[in-house]
Symmetry: C2
Subunit: 169 residues, 2 copies
Amino acid sequence: MLPYTANTLKAELNSRGWRLTPQRETILHVFQNLPHGNHLSADELHHVLSQRGETISLSTIYRSVKLMARMGILRELELAEGHKHYELNRPQHHHHHMVCVQCNKTVEFKNDSILKQSLKQVDRDGLQLIDCQLTVTTICPEAIRMGWPSELPSNWSCTRAISETAAEE
Amino acid sequence: MLPYTANTLKAELNSRGWRLTPQRETILHVFQNLPHGNHLSADELHHVLSQRGETISLSTIYRSVKLMARMGILRELELAEGHKHYELNRPQHHHHHMVCVQCNKTVEFKNDSILKQSLKQVDRDGLQLIDCQLTVTTICPEAIRMGWPSELPSNWSCTRAISETAAEE
DNA sequence: TAACAAGTGCTAATCATTTGCAACTAAGTT
DNA sequence: AACTTAGTTGCAAATGATTAGCACTTGTTA
């Protein structure tokens, strides 16, 4: 399921009646070269490509990214920002998310038993697993201390330490 | 955290500087009287209310439902339909979801160890848990057999038996 | 190499959700 | 019990991510 090359990607696409296009190949490359833990929204991907001089229309990006997620090549992340993010789907490196309802900060964490439980559930129903994601909704103590969002100073941002497995930026 | 009455709701709201309004009380009632396992989108809630003669503006519904989710009273579900659904948040009755990327069918299931793992993670970081949801993305064999979506007859719908680990009581 | 369905890139829709604002009303205070 | 002042509501208008329509282009397979 993992190291897609232009050829294996082509094979996988063709077997379903889909085609390998330069755009799809380029998009796959971007994700393959993204540092582990990073993820891109459709719009961010569009920007990244522009900066490289590669122009792929936003429509095509949306279509490609969605297709690749359905094929199990990409993982579609529903973070708290109101739009989806994508990253390579590498089951061995699955991480999950904790989101604070107040400061809105998202922290990644790993937990192998989640994948195990998912496989258990899926096997039992004769399905094939593509991805699993646990989202834990929380309140962090620092945000509680500051009061609820309606009272938060607009420039305040939670300084809560990010737990180790957290990602980028 | 559970049996909210008008009074406990008021107390909880007031303690944060928010107010108990007839609209909020009405909305809570709707959810409290919803059969277990059901959930409503903002729009559906709006319709339900209209049919009862209670008119609450859609804006207010969006605002209330989001507030109650942040307070931990409601659970916000991200299903595959492109809009959010809400239900009462009852940790003892948490269920999770399996979604097929091809037939798009969503199946609920229970698994107590998910909540346990979430609590473990949350405790470790000193956070307070509000909710946890595991989404398992899958492909069901029947949909595979029918070919990928682009080839699916438009009127076809997956008849895959719904697993009865599926939710509640 | 021809034939054709799939794919691309525009632009124009969708559509759920949010926001600005004037009027209204809980809650706490005299 | 009236008074004050934020929080709330309900419109209508604005967002913003994602999708759809369509003419043109291009992989794939025969």
